[in-house]
């Protein structure tokens, strides 16, 4: 279920047009990241959950 959600989010990010800002929520701080960094973050999270 979670894996499926990550997959959907990755697809969503990949479809995003260039120039859209993406942020990682780290506690109360939001850090701007590139699309690749966000996808990498999701993939890492997926691996950790496995």
């Amino acid at each position: 279920m979670k894996e499926n959600k990550s997959k959907k989010l990755i697809e969503f990010l990949e479809r995003l047009p260039e120039g859209r800002r993406i942020y990682l929520n780290l506690g109360s701080v939001m850090v701007e990241v590139s699309k690749d960094e966000a996808i990498e973050f999701l993939k890492n999270q997926e691996e950790k959950e496995e």
């Binding site: 990550s6 993406i22 929520n25 973050f41 999701l42």
Partner: protein, 152 residues
Amino acid sequence: MAVKKDEKRMTDLTRQLRSIIAQIEALRVEIAQLDILIGEYRQTITTLRNLKDLGAGKEVLLPVGRIAQVGAKLEAVDKIVINIGSGISVELPFDEAIQQIEKEIVAALALREALERAMVELYEKVEALSQKIREHGHAEAGEGKKDEGEQK
């Protein structure tokens, strides 16, 4: 021996009934939480639309902690940062952001409906179990009267 068997059956039925009632309660809590979430999503859409209508340059108060607020100037509300889950937020154009929130509302409503259906099924089980318990109770009462008659 038969009495013990009857008691065990009654205990089993009562335990099943309690378990189902607990499941119904859990579903009720989940549905209530979904209602709050749906309400918040709708409120978010309203707030975003109102901010957009107010336009750039308006002074707003930003909450800092629970009791403090600081003034800030509103920029044009044409881009919204939306939390899409798993710790990621994305900047979306206003209309797309509204659509995204509406999609979340639709998903939450679908889940709510599924939980309600599950609750109806559980209520049917409660009804059936209650009937069984009543029948069992009547049967036991009948047996008791028969025993009393034989003793007299």
